[in-house]
Subunit: 410 residues, 2 copies
């Protein structure tokens, strides 16, 4: 008997179940594992004995894998749990490896971001130490696109498509009034500006929105920002600004917690970056300003996912399955870009110690000299990732997704 | 020569151009008008001489009407302009009617909400006074669904579909963590709770989110709310609450500007209703709370529109065209519901003085006795309105919309 166990961890994306589906599809084509188990709420499911048999669920659920591929967030639930050092709490490792032995686990797959890759690193190191043959393979996902060792991360392309489409639609909303206005769009990504940069894809032959783009990789100056906005207002009525939630001033202080924010608000800790900038525009330029905090839909709006992203995420799962068969452990599957035009990639892998606990920032050369836009190279990098639309199944006007049915209604 | 002029006004919806397309399609089938003019930025275009010839634009733009039907917000731009009483500023009326005479206008169509219907009322009354033969017909639109005389308003069904889909997707986002949390979703609609009520459509066989729904039609009690949330938290980890931005306490004070808000925040005027409730949950229940202000996408996300809504909106435009031919003036086209199952409607009209300047609230009997949910009758009323998905055309990963190209890039 040779089984595997899969878990999902960290923040949601719309593609994280596609990677799970990819492992399952690969195992249908190429039957290496007898059972695919799913650990509920990440690694915690193993510790708490909450594990489901996905092979059984698939057999009893028509269209399970296809629907799973289009379902947002984590079918298996998530956790925010960083595995302690073995020296701190060896008992946890003992329990995990005892569980693996009991269930005849050949491979553990973890679909997640940086914390999950750290878990893969620790478990694979521990396996070597105790001479366990269990293999550990990480499958990346994050809308932040900030994992090292891979051209981009599953989940990012769909979030980028959501951001670009939303900004185009919000541009239609803003450009209808013949009065001056500024609209600030606050986008997720505290340390890396990839997703904010994707706002550039909203531009088309009739709209240049967003007219200004600010990433956290460059220090943000409020005076510079006001000058940028004023220059834009001379050219058009309705200015749209895309801004990362994580922009900081030259001293590294978050703008959302800046003096300016405190001055305007009294209680800066409750204000998002967008709200702070909205207030500054209102106060200083006396222009109608609005801020939109693009909400959690940027990471869970599966009805607007990128087919390229979903296909690649599934392929990452299949690649992980193949790498397990080849005997690899302590690795993360990766995407290597062969060319932009035609867009060609291939799946590969990287040693987990080279990727875990690191952040991939936007290269400085892909940010405009003035720090208020991105370059053509960024557009060429981003554009292939949002291509294609999956056929979402609707019933009674709503998209059809999956959720675990062994709990009572959520 | 017999021409008409169309204008659009008020806040955006995704269906307002479908009504414009409906007038144009009807005129192709049944050539009553020689030219269809479009007034840019509502009635202001007539006053400022900013009028385009839509018949000409259509001839020179392949697929114009089809693409127009799927384009959000106002192709012709909008305004927030309430026509003064003739006694206050008769000159405006003189200019408008002189323009109509110069352009040989037979009918003026105004697609909009309450203010636009007030404009139709005033212009049609003035026409009678000065014995002008120009006809005035209103075509309703508002995501708020608060116009009287019609079963529902164009634009509402799509906004309702957006709300329901978004909440389902956000439910997937919230239910992944095995920790207690409360998510507050703040929905547009200051005076009428129709759109907030539409959140009920998100419920399905595995998710009961939103678990609580609060409309502005019932007084909101913070203590009652906390008790409701606590009761829900006993049954599940992740509670979702849909709340109208316009909820008020028993004395009529907005919750967003309440004592509780001021206590929590210092600067209540900057806080939305959702943020206030989030803060109250955090402070009083010591539970992880988050609030999401569903942003302007609820009125402009054309990629997620309701086909039923778009078809009905186009049919409302066609009905307006037919009513003009029949010689009607001083009316608004309406939707009359014949039955829920099968869903059957017919287009009709109402005298404009019976509908202008009134608000249609949610009937009290469609709100649950406890005031924290809606009834089965509400679900039966809402459900048909979100059915069907239009075929949105995507190019390079983005939906393809239209915008006026006679200005420089927006």
């Amino acid at each position: 008997m040779k089984n595997c166990i899969i878990a999902q961890s960290g923040g949601p994306t719309v593609a994280i179940n596609a990677s799970l589906a990819g492992v399952m599809e690969a195992n249908k084509r190429d039957k290496y594992f007898d059972n695919i188990y799913g650990s509920v709420n990440g690694i915690l499911g193993i510790l708490d004995g909450k594990v489901v048999n996905l092979t059984d669920i698939e057999k009893s659920t028509p269209g399970f894998v296809e629907k799973l591929k289009l379902t947002p967030a984590m079918y298996l639930g998530s956790c925010r749990f960083k595995l302690p050092e073995p020296s701190e709490e060896e008992g946890i490792y003992d329990r995990i490896f005892a569980y693996f032995e009991e269930k005849e686990i050949d491979t553990f797959f973890y679909i997640g971001g940086n914390d999950s890759m750290d878990t893969i690193l620790r478990l694979s190191q521990h396996a070597r130490r105790i001479r366990s043959s269990v293999k550990f393979i990480g499958i990346p996902k994050t809308i932040d696109n900030d994992l090292c060792g891979t051209d981009h991360t599953p989940g990012f392309g769909s979030a980028a498509k959501y951001i670009a489409t939303s900004i185009l639609e919000m541009a239609h909303d803003t450009m209808i009034y013949p009065v001056k206005s500024v609209t600030i769009i606050e986008i997720m990504g505290r340390d890396a500006g990839w997703l904010t940069a994707a706002s550039v894809l909203a531009r088309n032959e009739y709209s240049l929105a967003p007219h200004l783009i600010y990433l956290p990789e460059r220090p943000f100056s409020i005076e510079g920002f006001l000058a940028d906005v004023e220059a834009q207002l001379e050219q058009r009525n309705n200015v749209m600004v895309a801004v990362s939630e994580g922009i900081r001033d030259k001293d590294g202080n978050y703008i959302s917690a800046s003096e300016a924010a405190a001055d305007g608000f009294g209680h800066s800790q409750l204000s998002g970056t967008g709200k702070v900038l909205e207030q500054i525009i209102s106060d200083r330029l006396k222009i109608k300003a609005r801020s939109v905090e693009v909400n959690i839909l940027q990471r869970c709006a599966a009805h607007l996912s990128s087919l390229t992203d979903l296909d690649e995420s599934a392929a990452q799962g299949a690649k992980a399955h193949a790498l397990a068969q080849e005997g690899h452990s302590g690795i993360m599957v990766t995407i290597k870009r062969i060319s932009d035009k035609p867009y060609t990639i291939e799946a590969g892998y990287a040693k987990i110690d080279k990727v875990a606990n690191q952040v991939k920032s936007v290269p400085d050369k892909w940010i405009s000299a003035a720090g208020n836009d991105v370059t053509k190279e960024m557009v060429e990098y981003l554009s292939p990732l949002i291509q294609g639309e999956p056929e979402v199944e609707y019933k009674d006007g709503l998209p059809q997704y999956l959720f675990r049915t062994y709990y009572r209604k959520a």
